[in-house]
Symmetry: C2
Subunit: 239 residues, 2 copies
């Protein structure tokens, strides 16, 4: 089976690196189709453990330098896990809703942080970056393997699916600062695009919330705003 | 004067991009040595405004495609500001202390977030990434131009310089969660390296603090931990 550079319309993606591949094998063993080793891979204890898990899960292992040239041309990666993409289904717990996120690293960081704060349901409104892009998978540090992600074509579709829940929209035009919000659970924390934020109309059907900051910056970056919001939202859980 | 690829031991660095160069010209006009335009630079209103500021500040402007090949080979940048590095001096306000930060993007994001929360004094303990690396400057979105940054060879040197102040060390081995810390100002929020965190011995001279999260992740990433800590630390200022 040929190794192909990742594309959005393929039904497979890749976990680049030994730690990430290990996480993939632990969380989604049924979806792993192959594990590639580079001929430069050192047979450390960690790699031997990974190979044990592959044997245990009947995952084929190939030494395949071509795969590394295609998938990780920078050469800083010695193990790659190939896996079938999976579809998620949002639960009735609280959600993160990302409207038009465009950056792979940012999406991965948000998934990692959300998993850290126990928020494992993420809705994404298109147009948006592909959550299975290996850059997202990598930046998520494997959190994507235990997150339910669903894409929607429009925020209206998301609202129709979850008509009862309270939505909190993080936007600079809001007047209520984050620490004053009495969050009702389950609810949804809604964030806009990196460059443009949320359209003003979100204030019509969401409670607008602002994370106040000085005038020295235009805005917090998206993962930072989402991370701070999730910290504040969930902090009573982790006391 | 020849354009050189950025190196740590040069006394100049570069602001890559029109917005960043504009911020440089506004904040540190005396330090700008040249502004480069690419022959592909469109003469938009924004660029004309930037050229006005250059004229006003007596900053020479060069159309110099070679500079872009050397400094921004990816070709997604049409204005570059060259500037002399500057040294900072920490004030008696509260500080961020970064011990051995290694990633340029992370340091830039921390500077941006710190500026957003009004923390404009940052101590960095070596070995550490170079704050004037153009990747740091860019990720800081210009916040570096209004931040006082000082490097120290060891945490002991920092402590000797600021012997009276209370230090809060963010570490996974701490037992007091962030929301329960009654911060005394001025103080210092101390963060470790991306991969290794802070050595245990920091608990001997700091109050250890933890940002609690689930077991789904090993840790928050460094800028996220620093951003959440700064949010909690400064949130009464922005009510």
């Amino acid at each position: 089976m040929k190794v192909q550079r990742y594309k959005h319309d393929l039904d497979i993606s890749y976990a680049l690196g030994a730690t990430l591949t290990f996480e993939l094998l632990l969380q989604r063993p049924d979806l792993v189709t192959r594990v590639f080793l580079s001929s430069a891979t050192e047979r450390s204890d960690a790699v031997e453990r990974l190979l044990d898990v592959c044997r245990h899960c009947d995952v084929p292992v190939e030494t395949n330098d071509k795969a590394f040239n295609i998938l990780s041309p920078k050469g800083n990666c010695f193990v790659i896990g190939e896996f079938q993409k999976f579809s998620g289904s949002l639960s009735d717990a609280s959600h993160i809703v990302l409207v038009n996120p465009s950056d792979a690293g940012n999406l991965g960081t948000i998934l990692r942080t959300a998993a850290g704060f126990g928020v494992t349901d993420v809705a994404i409104v298109r147009p948006a970056v592909d959550a299975f892009d290996p850059k997202v998978v990598r930046a998520s540090m494997g959190a994507i393997f235990h997150t339910e992600i669903e894409y929607f074509d429009a925020i209206e579709d998301y609202r129709a699916r979850f008509p009862q829940r309270h939505l909190y929209a993080f936007m600079l035009k809001a007047s209520t600062p984050l620490p004053q919000i009495p969050f009702e659970e389950p609810c949804s924390l809604v964030f806009g695009n990196e460059a443009t934020g949320l359209p003003d109309c979100f204030a019509d059907f969401c409670t607008p919330v602002i994370i106040r900051h000085s005038h020295a910056i235009d805005s917090l970056n998206l993962p930072m705003a989402a991370g701070i919001a999730m910290y504040e939202f969930t902090k009573d859980r982790w006391k």
